[in-house]
């Protein structure tokens, strides 16, 4: 087989890849922030002493964790227009899906984070007159977030890889950009190879940063 990479130039990058890369990053960042926020709420619900609240969170988390992401993407793409009565673009639908879906995974990480904080800290908070919300916001969550930052970021690297699955509904992400470029120049194989290299560089780079961070922020007790 003759590999021919000569078709690759900046025109491809600006015409096909930038748009896709931007969407992949946007999707990653929005669903990381939204997912962590919803996930934290779910984690607090899961740890609630009121049974039905913790049950709701448990059902949410377990449901999303046992369905393939591709199916969740398809479900939302089918259901959102059915419920709202309006068509929705694949990109927006994907963003909503990923935020809701990733929340289930971030919730498990945050639950472990909250549980890693000694109970006495909550009691100390109450003792100085804080409410539950204040205790959580000012004492427990900041420490939980810091302890779990490496895991949250590792999950985000996985999330970035998973954004390629929006392929199922045809949203324009990085992989789609590569695919269209490959089809246009009739060089699909070279393009998939380059795509693999680019994804590898991004993910490996991010994981290396996370590993460094992990050493740096380890809390000394």
């Amino acid at each position: 087989m003759n590999l021919d990479f000569s078709y690759l130039d900046w025109g491809i990058v600006s015409n096909f890849l930038v748009k896709g890369l931007r969407f992949s990053f946007e999707l990653t960042v929005i669903s990381m922030l939204g997912g962590t926020f919803i996930g934290t709420l779910l984690a607090m619900m899961r740890l609630s002493s009121r049974r039905w609240i913790s049950l709701v969170a448990a059902v949410y988390v377990d449901t999303f964790r046992s369905i393939p992401l591709v199916m969740v993407i398809l479900w939302f793409f089918l259901l959102i227009p059915m419920l709202t009565g309006r068509a929705m673009g694949a990109e927006l639908s994907a963003t909503i899906t990923f935020t809701v879906f990733e929340a289930a995974y971030y919730a498990e990480i945050m639950r472990a984070g909250i549980q890693s904080i000694p109970r006495g800290q909550m009691a100390a908070g109450y003792a100085v007159g804080m409410s539950y919300t204040q205790c959580m916001r000012l004492v427990v969550l900041p420490q939980a977030l810091r302890n779990m930052l490496p895991l949250l970021l590792t999950q985000t690297v996985i999330l970035f890889q998973d954004t390629s699955l929006v392929y199922a509904i045809g949203a324009y992400d990085l992989l789609k950009g590569f695919e269209i470029a490959g089809k246009n120049f009739n060089r699909p194989i070279e393009t998939y190879l380059v795509a693999a290299v680019v994804y590898f560089a991004i993910c490996f780079g991010l994981s290396t940063v996370v590993r460094r961070l992990q050493k740096k922020i380890r809390i000394v007790r």
Binding site: S66, P68, L74, L78, A168, L175, Y192, C203, F204
Partner: protein, 236 residues
Amino acid sequence: MSGPWQWQVFLQKYDGEHTYLSWLMSAWGWTLMVALSALAVALVVGSLVGIARTTPMRWLVLLGEAWTELFRNIPLLVQVFLWYYALPAALPILQAVPGFLMVVFALGFYTSARISEQVKAGIQTLPTGQRYAGLALGLTLPQTYRYVLLPRAFRILVPPLTSEAMTIVKNSSVAFAVSIPELTMFAMQAQEETSRGVEVYLAVTALYFISSFTIGRLAMVVERKLRVPGMVGGKA
């Protein structure tokens, strides 16, 4: 047809001969076949790579690390495309291999990176003294692994490997992208043809649930059988 639910859609015939129900069942079979074959590949390769990363041989460790980083940092979907389109183009001999097998290797090698991490961690949780004790008794390195380290490590590894097995069922859904007729592919096509998306997706989702749940249950039985007495959660 009446009512909001139209489950009779599964009794319609998609090609004038076979019902959607029979297609659904064959799709389920494909999903299980892809997932279980890939799991077998992943367990074998992942164990070997994980073991390599714990040996005293530096080149083996580096090789194992490189393998793990390579297969872990490229999205599964991209790996599936590479196996399905790029490899047969590079090695014409592979063109005779059915596409199904290429997807099995894609999914299996991808998962092997994750399993190698687990296996490495499992071996490293054992006290180093056990390795030295084995070697001091005159066992060779392979014998130390075979008779001392691995029997204990794999028992510790049953729970994380179970969750990998459940994940691989979910991950097998990416096979839709290269038209393997598995559950997700069925979901997309049957939804398009029948316009009964909710019923179709519900059935497919339920089958994914059942598959994962069954694997989880089976693994619990295995775990109970293999538990090391005296360890946390083991018999007294």
